[in-house]
Structure formats: C-alpha cells, structure tokens
C-alpha cells in the first residue's frame, strides 16, 4: 500500500503523469484538439472498484478547498488551495517508512433524494505509529451510471 500511496502522490504532483490522454504539442493542439473521451456506461448495481475511486479522485484534484467548510484549513500548508494540494500533503507524510501506512477506500449507496443513483465514495490516507495516528481524506458522490464525480459533493474528512 505504500507503493500505491507513492504512485498516488506522484500522479497528483505530475498531473498527467499516468494519463491516457495523448501528449500533443501546443501547435497540434491548436489545430486539432484531442476529442473528449467517450462516456462509459457502468452497471449501476456494481460499486466502483478501489482503482476507479482513486482515479476519480485524481481526476478531480483541482476542486477548490472552498467547496465546503469541512475543507477549510485542512491543507498541511496554509498555501494549499485545492484537493490535490491537500491529498498530496498527507501522502507526502507517508514517505517516512516508520509505522504503518494504508488507504481506506470504499463505496456505498448514497443517492441523495430526488437524484439519479449515486455512490458515496471515500478515500482516507492513514498512518499509525504509536501516538502518531491519523486518517485524512475525502468523500464524494459518484454517478452510478458513468462514474463521474459530482464535484460540489466533495467533503474533507479527518480528525486530530
């Protein structure tokens, strides 16, 4: 799981490091912009996998920490402005090999009243080393039919 954490951190920092989007030169992009990937359809009864949840989180790293009061002041640095900054800060804490690091990733039915079926997804970055014990992360709603994220549903979780 440490390797997964490091991978997540690298991807956050590099932004497009693992993207499947073809790399294009600015000249090419101006002439022929890359088409948007076709929307995928999913079985609405099957929850997203851990990989899909993390991929969705990475894709929405630019959501502002102003999205909700739960995200106010959660960055490890006062200059942090978005979810990518926040998550990167706690993943970076896991570069120390001392103690135990892991990710809690989950999905449960979470359809708000009057909306289409959605999954309530959660990603929590955890560390335990004696008294040094914490779990910080996010929750968000993901549409069951295409696994896109309701960006204004992002909340920041964690205590301590």
């Amino acid at each position: 799981m440490k390797s997964l954490g490091r991978l997540l951190l690298c991807t956050c920092l590099l932004g497009v490091g693992c993207s499947r989007t073809p790399q294009v030169t600015p000249q090419t992009a101006a002439v022929s912009p890359a088409p948007a990937p076709p929307a995928k359809n999913f079985d609405v009864q099957v929850p997203p996998s851990g990989k899909e949840i993390i991929r969705a989180l990475l894709a929405n790293q630019d959501v502002s920490l102003a999205v909700d009061s739960s995200c106010s002041g959660v960055g490890t640095d006062s200059r942090d402005t978005n979810i990518g900054d926040y998550i990167s800060g706690f993943l970076a804490e896991q570069t120390n090999k001392k103690g135990k690091n892991w990710l809690d990733v989950s999905a449960r039915p979470g359809t708000p009243a009057g909306t289409e079926p959605m999954w309530q997804c959660a990603v929590v970055i955890r560390h335990v080393d004696g008294e040094d014990r914490w779990g910080w992360g996010v929750t968000f709603l993901m549409k069951a039919r295409d696994h896109t994220v309701a960006r204004n549903s992002v909340r920041c979780t964690g205590s301590g």
Binding site: V74, G89, E131, D132, G135, G160
Partner: protein
Amino acid sequence: MAITAAALNGFLGKNISQVCGNGYANPSDNHCAHFVSHALNYQFGYNCLIAGSGKTPGANLRVQELFSRCPVVGKWAVRPASLTTCLVFVTAASNVHLDARTMDNVPQKHIGIFLNGPIWHYSNAQHQVVTQLPELFVHHYHGPDIELFYGQFPI
C-alpha cells in the same frame, strides 16, 4: 461553566466510544481534539455530528480549529502565571503561526486540557483518556522543534 478536576477525572480510562454519542470512534482515527471538545462542549466547526452517525450534539474534531478559536495563544514558556487552566498544544513550532493565531494541519499535533498542574488528554495509542504532566506531554512527539503552546479557552 468552569471545568473541574473532578469532572475531568470522570473521563479517565474511558475509550472515546464511551465519550461520544455520535459513533465517531474508529480506533484508527485521532481523537485528541474530539475528547477535549466533548469535555468542554465545543460544538463549532467540523464535529462528530457531521462526521459520525448519531444525533447528539457534536464535538469539534480538529486541533487547528480549536487553536484558532482561542482568544489568546502563546508559547508555553511564557504562559501567564495567572493562567492556571487552559488548552495545551504540542507540535513542531514551525507549524504554529502565533501572529495569525493559526496552526497548520500537519499530522503531528496534539491537544489536552491543563488544569492546575496535570494535563488530561486522549492517548491514541492507549485508546483512553490519561493524565500527564507538561514535562512529559512535550515528549508526545519526537523532534528538535517540538514545543508546547497554550491557548485560553475558546469563548
């Protein structure tokens, strides 16, 4: 209502599940601010009613939010002698911005309640409320930059 040693002693040895009525008691989470907020009834900000599953009044969960609510904060070494009861924080000094009254949300930060000598706090390793003197509390984390800070109780 002023907190008393008798009231704080009533929490000694208790697991957070015995303190929180909202079911926010995962032993992998950090409950230091959570305990302090239940003991002192701090319901503001991000609390266990929002994060948990119950319907009882929430208690704040975050050290940095408690720090910012203190009307006066400072280094423990210059704590006014008249301040015999207050919040006490332990973290690296580089995470604390006294002029702005803010604390960065770094993982290694901890909080307790100081009252006439001892500090009552939640030991996340022992999973229970304990007491400790400031001379030991400062060693909650290891590192050359680790210091104690005081904060007058939020109003």
